[in-house]
């Protein structure tokens, strides 16, 4: 999806929230599938009154998006009529539809797990022949490839089945709070709505459980800070029946809870805990230390629940009339109703399913690499999914003809060229927006999913007050002020450098990062809002945090002293 001349008249903004780095060719499928599904939901399925879908364009690996607002009053009315028949049905039947959604997602995940491993034997296995299968292994390649893509596109449809409605109900309550209490912080509203048992807490809870198991089984001595995963595994295996018992507990946690990746699901190289155990396992020594120091690692769910109830009650009391209180009750009830989906869907979609998807593509990478298409299996991600299909067909054909595929002569040079391009693109800061800036941004999808308003655009585009060059602004995510050295983390490997008392500066955090919060004094992220993972976990740990700064990882030097003001959303370079 490249820009064409017609696009110059439209307003586009860089979706740095989901796509902070230049995309490689294959990963662009994440944009294609996501916008395809998002648009069907808003335009056709629920008929959002004032907006159609989102268009996207890619230039230099950067994803730009633009809304399609509906402005004709008659059309808005027509769409409103459709919307209410559809969306209100979902709100009224949320629990049962969501239960059905989970079943659909789990069966989709099962289908993906059961796809055959891609493999080309020299001869078709004898048992296939004797069974009269009548379809040769090269056909399996295209079959599995197409099913892999089909499942991925389907996953995104599921992803958006509830998302806009869920965010909409939350934002309804949010907007009410901002009107009734103009100075209420985003995080306070978030705290009133957030659940306590969401899936995003589970991976970290599993690590705490495993730390407890290690102590109970008396194998905690094996967990030494800095020890490699291989050494640890070897030592545990040699550690008698208790060592094996702990490893069995580990296996129980891994499926499904280690299926979280270190990103937000849009880049193939954001691997999961299951793919790289070093991340989760490195947190266990710290947890063991806490257990031995007599601290409880159990999240005080009941206490948190009671605090949330109290918070809701206290704000309710401040409202000016019973009528207003009744509206408040209606809105928060609706927000609580939709929230399990808003909090839970990512685990199933962006994490679990996405891991399966990219790992399946890796299998194709391995196979094509074996047949000389690539120097490294990972090169497969430098092809678009269309090109990859042609490469697969190329291999299928060559395998059947007994001749040589053409790919090995073609792809390595292209792969190299594209790798170089991405490296170059990454050096340049893309303009945050292109085209004429609209006066108002009233597209609920854009406001909801990206938090983009005319005010935030002004900040991005440098319109208005001259900002303090030593200040970086973001969303106030978790209250408190802290000063300390920044540890700028750009990859999982970097997290090994985190020292106690560091302030974590990262592009995005997700459930994978929760264990790191035991070490740090504060957190700053490029991406995320007040309901983002970093914000939620920081509040639980009582750590000051500013999220959604857009540029913290590029503007803060590693080791630099910074101050994080989590109540005001300001990071100051000292």
């Amino acid at each position: 999806m490249q820009f064409t001349a017609d696009d110059d008249q439209r307003f586009w903004f860089y979706n740095s929230m989901h796509f902070p780095e230049p995309m490689c060719a294959f990963d662009m499928i994440t944009a294609e599938a996501a916008y395809c599904a998002l648009g069907s939901s808003t335009t056709r399925v629920f008929s959002l009154p004032t907006t159609l879908g989102i268009d996207y364009r890619i230039v230099n690996g950067r994803v730009y998006i633009g809304g399609n607002a509906v402005t004709d009053p008659a059309e808005i009315e027509r769409r409103t009529h459709e919307f209410q028949q559809r969306a209100f049905y979902y709100y009224a039947n949320w629990e049962s539809l969501y239960a059905q959604w989970k079943e659909k997602m789990l069966s989709l995940i099962k289908d993906a797990q059961e796809l055959e491993k891609v493999h080309l034997p020299e001869f078709e296995p004898l048992e296939h022949v004797h069974a009269g299968r009548g379809v040769a292994s090269n056909h399996t390649l295209i079959d599995v490839y197409q099913k892999t893509l089909e499942g991925y596109f389907r996953m995104w449809h599921h992803h958006f089945e509830f998302l806009l409605l869920g965010y909409g109900a939350y934002l309804t309550f949010f907007a009410f709070c901002k009107k009734a209490f103009p100075e209420i912080s985003d995080q306070t509203v978030a705290r009133m709505v957030a659940g306590m048992e969401a899936e995003i807490f589970r991976p970290d809870e599993e690590l705490r459980r495993l730390a407890h198991c290690a102590v109970e089984l008396g194998v905690d001595g094996h967990f030494i800070e800095g020890r490699s995963v291989e050494d640890l595994m070897k030592s545990l295996k040699a550690g008698g029946s208790n060592g094996s018992a702990w490893l069995a507990e580990l296996e129980a946690s891994r499926e499904p809870w280690f299926n979280i990746n270190v990103g937000d699901g849009f880049y193939h190289y954001h691997r999961s805990w299951n793919d790289d155990l070093s991340m989760p396992l490195s947190a266990i020594p710290g947890y063991i230390r806490l257990i031995k120091a007599g601290e409880s690692l159990k999240r005080p769910v009941e206490k948190l629940q009671a605090e949330r109830t109290q918070l809701i009650e206290d704000y309710r009391e401040l409202l000016s009339s019973d009528d207003e209180r009744q509206a408040y009750d209606q809105m928060i009830t609706l927000a609580h109703r939709v929230f399990p989906y808003v909090e839970g869907h990512k685990f199933y979609c962006e994490h679990w399913y996405t891991n399966l998807f990219f790992n399946k593509i890796r299998e194709f990478g391995d196979l094509l690499c074996t047949h000389g298409f690539f120097k490294k299996a990972d090169d497969v991600f430098q092809l678009t999914h269309y090109e990859l299909e042609s490469a697969v067909i190329d291999l299928m054909t060559a395998w059947s003809a007994g001749s040589k595929p053409r790919g090995p002569a073609r792809w390595p040079a292209i792969v190299q060229e594209r790798r170089d391009a991405i490296q170059e693109w990454a050096k340049h800061t893309p303009p945050p927006a292109l085209g004429p800036v609209p006066d108002v941004i009233d597209d609920p999808a854009i406001v909801m999913l990206w938090g983009i308003t005319r005010e935030s655009l002004n900040t991005w585009l440098g319109i208005g007050d001259g900002a303090n060059p030593n200040e970086i602004r973001g969303f106030a995510a978790s209250n408190g002020i802290v000063e300390g050295p920044a540890c700028v983390v750009k990859s999982v490997e970097d997290t090994a450098r985190l020292r106690d008392g560091d302030i974590l500066v990262c592009q995005v955090t997700n459930p994978t990062w929760a264990p790191l919060f035991q070490k740090i004094a504060g957190a700053v992220s490029d991406i995320g809002g007040s309901m983002s993972h970093a914000a939620i976990v920081a509040r639980e740990y009582g750590l000051p945090a500013v999220v959604g700064t857009g540029s913290a990882t590029s503007r803060i030097r590693d080791g630099q002293r910074i101050r994080v003001d989590g109540a005001r959303g300001i990071v100051t370079l000292l």
Binding site: T50, F181, T188, S320, D323, E324, A327, P444, R568
Partner: protein
């Protein structure tokens, strides 16, 4: 500490006594009843004022001098004001009142002869509907019984200041009902003092408390002589969403022979926050308690004692600016709760 018709101790009065003890006195009694720390004290009741006015009327007319004045005729008002104030301040109190006040002051001031504040407490002042706060006088750090007696009369006379008279004439308030009580209260030797509002003065938000404070006695803040430090604190969450530490050039401190000195703040303290985060939270919790007690937003004066670090409230009155213009509800209940989402999806924002 028995009551008489001339004075009432704080513990014995509340808001309902306002017609007799004035707004300030009633509010201080009410706060003490609600379990809030206020410096101990008593109120010289309006009946005492009235007895004194009658005493003066026997010599020459008082109220009849004021009644015919035009609110715009500042020259005549000025002449009458000067004459009446002179009489209030120069005439001695009847002996029985004098004896009673000296006794009460002794009990309040104790063996150490602790300093007191003498504060006017008008019956119209501090009421939510007719605030003319600040039109009457307050005298700080008074150390002798003689001065207390003199200053009570000075407070009374402030009811006949040019501003007060012309204000009353403008609103055609009949002179007959005009009376003033006077609060006599132990001074707090404040390290830090200031004011707070239990809603935002800028947005009217009821979920935040705005706290302003500066070094020394609160008179520097109330009188606008120093730009106070300013915090916005979440009423429920305790989050400090805004903190502005200002350059506090002066502070009011007790003078050696009574009264207040205006002293330059030493360089190292000028730009230092005058409250710690813990103190902000203590203020927040007291503010909530007071607001809950009254059932409406409050405008509060407070002080933190230099030696004990204890917090005292010096005054609390209903907030008047936002309460009088409360906007329409943020939303109203609807038959189908899902309809609320149209505020987001309907494009009517």
């Amino acid at each position: 500490m028995t009551d008489s018709k001339h004075i009432s101790w704080f513990k014995d009065i509340g808001l309902a006594d306002r017609p007799h003890v004035g707004g300030k006195g009633g509010s201080l009694g009410e706060l003490q009843r609600a379990g809030i720390d206020v410096p101990p004290g008593f109120v010289v009741r309006t009946a005492t004022f009235e007895r004194f006015v009658e005493f003066l009327e026997q010599q020459a007319p008082v109220r009849a001098e004021v009644e015919p004045l035009e609110s715009g005729d500042l020259i005549s008002i000025g002449r009458v004001s000067a004459r009446l104030r002179e009489r209030f301040e120069q005439t001695r109190l009847p002996p029985d009142i004098t004896a009673e006040l000296i006794h009460a002051h002794e009990m309040l001031s104790g063996d150490t002869g602790a300093a007191v504040a003498v504060r006017s407490s008008a019956t119209t002042e501090d009421a939510a509907d007719a605030s003319f706060a600040g039109l009457q006088d307050t005298f700080l750090w008074v150390t002798t019984a003689d001065d207390v007696l003199k200053l009570i009369r000075r407070c009374w006379s402030s009811l006949y200041s040019v501003e007060s008279i012309s204000y009353r004439r403008k609103l055609s308030i009949p002179e007959e009902g005009v009376a003033m009580a006077v609060v006599v209260q132990r001074m707090v030797n404040a390290r830090t003092a200031g004011v707070m509002f239990t809603r935002s003065p800028t947005t009217g938000d009821r979920s935040v408390i705005t706290i302003e404070g500066a070094w020394g006695l609160g008179s520097a803040v109330v009188g606008g002589e120093v730009t106070p430090d300013r915090w916005v604190v979440g009423k429920i969450t305790g989050e400090v969403s805004s903190r502005d530490v200002s350059d506090k050039a002066t502070e009011h401190l007790p003078a050696a022979g009574g009264g207040v000195d205006h002293v330059p703040v030493p360089e190292e303290r000028r730009r230092t926050a005058c409250l710690s985060d813990e103190e902000l939270q203590v203020l927040r919790s007291v503010a909530r308690k007071v607001e809950r007690h009254y059932g409406c937003a409050q405008d509060i004066e407070w002080a933190i004692d230099r030696d004990s670090n204890s917090l005292f409230l010096l005054q609390s009155r209903p907030e008047t600016v936002w309460s009088s213009k409360d906007p329409a509800p943020a939303a109203k209940a609807v038959a189908d709760p899902a309809m609320h989402v149209m505020s987001i999806f309907g494009g009517k924002r």
